[in-house]
């Protein structure tokens, strides 16, 4: 990344009065034009603090932030002209309609009326929001408000686009449209910094990832780099019948939370584990099981530790269409897709229907001791 649009070096920020906790503790980060960089981290990892420093709402204690070469710490006003931000909290737009809000922001950002109108209509159309375009904002759902905020950010995109949890509250179908938009923002030349804890979906869109934990970048690289360690390994998820806790040696360390167990197995052992699991489904020891390729999310959980990651699985599966396939058995595709990340999406399906989306996953990589629900 020779010519980064956003270049952060040695960024430190400690808030006064919060036990002196360091929100950012020496962060280096680059975002080049035409790329999407994902910033992962649990709640409180320092992601939003980082974003707020880029646009001059928070002043860093140390370090430099350059946006297209402009010193954003000394001249936040110049930086803001180059950056558009979707904030983590939804911007209240009560009194306005989504269309009106997007158009007004587009014009405030310097767009000409006719262009902004056309682009607003195109955005609302392609995010499938037309039926709410002229509905007063107080009557639209959280997901529509979230997508409206996205449209407000991108109607006249800055050369750096910062998206802080853009997929929150968005339904699975529109979330796919949203990911396409995020990708095309970068393909059109913008540098995109994507703050998220939706690891599963982000990994298919981002070019680079940085994992933030306690204000530090604990890992960075392409999704493939980061997932290299777990390639060839599979994650088995079991919904246990009441009280049953007998696992074969091939499962290694099993993390059990309530009625759910998660373990890592080597690809070579997959067939044997499937056979064992199928047998126990038939004998009533297991409600269901799923075998999925170990994903970036597993890596992420290992990196930042399981205790605070209850939010990791907050997503309710990648797509509604996949939910129908949540049966009692793993599909063949799940096992054979172990080495290709493309399979991740279609094999993550079971969790949407289980009703306890986050706990099992949070326990991945835990030792086999039983533990309480981290929440």
């Amino acid at each position: 990344m020779a010519t980064a649009m956003l270049s952060i070096r040695g960024l430190r920020k400690t808030y006064r009065g919060r036990n002196g906790a360091r929100a950012n503790d020496g962060i280096d980060l680059d975002v080049a034009p035409g790329t999407v960089v994902g910033l992962l981290g649990h709640n409180g990892a320092g992601k939003t603090t980082l974003v707020n420093q880029v646009v001059g709402i928070v002043r860093p204690d140390e370090g430099t932030i350059r946006v297209d070469g402009v010193d954003a710490v000394a001249r936040p006003d110049l930086a803001r002209a180059l950056v558009s931000v979707q904030a983590q909290a939804n911007v209240p737009i009560t009194g306005l309609t989504p269309r009106r809000a997007v158009e007004l922001v587009g014009r405030i950002r310097g767009g000409e009326l006719a262009e902004v109108r056309a682009r607003t209509a195109a955005l609302l159309e392609s995010l499938d929001l037309m039926q709410w375009a002229d509905t007063p904002a107080q009557k639209v759902s959280g997901g529509v408000a979230r997508l409206t905020a996205f449209a407000m950010t991108t109607v006249v995109p800055g050369r750096l686009v910062v998206l802080d949890e853009p997929t929150n509250d968005v339904d699975p179908v529109r979330r796919r449209l949203l990911w396409q938009h995020i990708r095309s923002l970068a393909d059109d030349g913008a540098a995109v910094l994507l703050v998220t804890h939706n690891v599963r979906e982000a990994e298919r869109v981002v070019d680079h990832l940085a994992v933030l934990d306690q204000g530090r970048v604990v890992a960075a690289g392409t999704p493939a780099d980061l997932a290299a360690d777990v390639r060839g390994s599979l994650s088995v998820e079991l919904d246990l019948a009441n009280g049953w806790r007998e696992f074969p040696a091939a499962l290694g360390d099993v993390a059990v939370i309530g009625q759910r167990a998660v373990a890592q197995v080597a690809a070579a052992d997959a067939a044997a584990v499937v056979a064992w699991a199928q047998e126990n489904v038939e004998s009533g020891h297991l409600e269901r099981y799923a075998l999925v390729p170990a994903s970036l999310e597993d890596v992420y959980v290992q990196l930042v530790g399981p205790e605070r990651t209850a939010t990791v699985g907050d997503d309710d599966g990648p797509a509604a269409a996949d939910e129908s396939s949540t049966g009692g058995t793993a599909t063949g595709g799940a096992a054979t897709g172990a080495t290709g990340s493309a399979a991740t999406g279609s094999t993550a399906t079971g969790r949407a229907a289980t009703g306890q989306p986050s706990t099992g996953r949070a326990a991945t990589g835990q030792p086999s001791t039983e533990q309480e629900d981290p929440r």
Partner: protein, 265 residues
Amino acid sequence: MSVTSVARADDATVARLSGPTAGPLRATLLLAQWQLRRQAQFMPLLVVVQVFMAVATVVGYGLLVGDPDPTTALYLATGAPTITLITVGLVMTPQMVAQARTEGSLDWMRTLPVPRWAFLAADLTVWTLIALPGMVLGVFTGVLRFHVDLSPAPWLVPGALAVSLVSAAVGYAMASLLPPQVAMLITQALVFIVLLFSPVSYPSERMPQWLQTAHDWLPIEPMAQVVRSGLAHDTFTMPLRSVVLLVVWGVAAVVGAAAALRRRA
């Protein structure tokens, strides 16, 4: 991944759209439009509240004092529009600003490529204008109830605008500089201070000495004097000291609010 369904701007559009942002004046007007449209849904309620304020001060005080002499009646009749005018700035403006801070919309607005003073200019424009209908209502209620003869000064309209602006600026500064919860509490107290413990609807001689001294330095009495002498030019005058005091408060409030908008955590 279907590319056709995605709204893609061509390179030229992106380049043009990502160019220089809206001029400061245009940005101010657009921001004012944003704020005004957001407040528009509350306007009917706001007008009702202002009617109540006017009726409360005119009719309610009338009940308290019985049949007032002409001077008292003139104080009451001119006090009502003052109270409706300045409670919008001193009470409602800070409540809205405190709410915007709490819910995060102020922080988001601050990420827009717009000079900080443009936010202040837009908000003050909106709140200055919102207060005016209530003032007109207050004048009519007062005249109807007390049958007083008004003698408007030529500078009544700019004077009223200035009072509205200063009170909105003071309210804005208060809500920007203080923690939102504290600002909210102060606004609650201010309702009573303005209604009952300020020389707005009665002469300041009736107050205890310490309160008179306090009002020598607060902006409320000068605001009342502007409206009072603007409406009853033949009876009341506007002391120069009050004009200066009002200007000082206005400038200090704008400087304070602008500094708060520039502040980085």
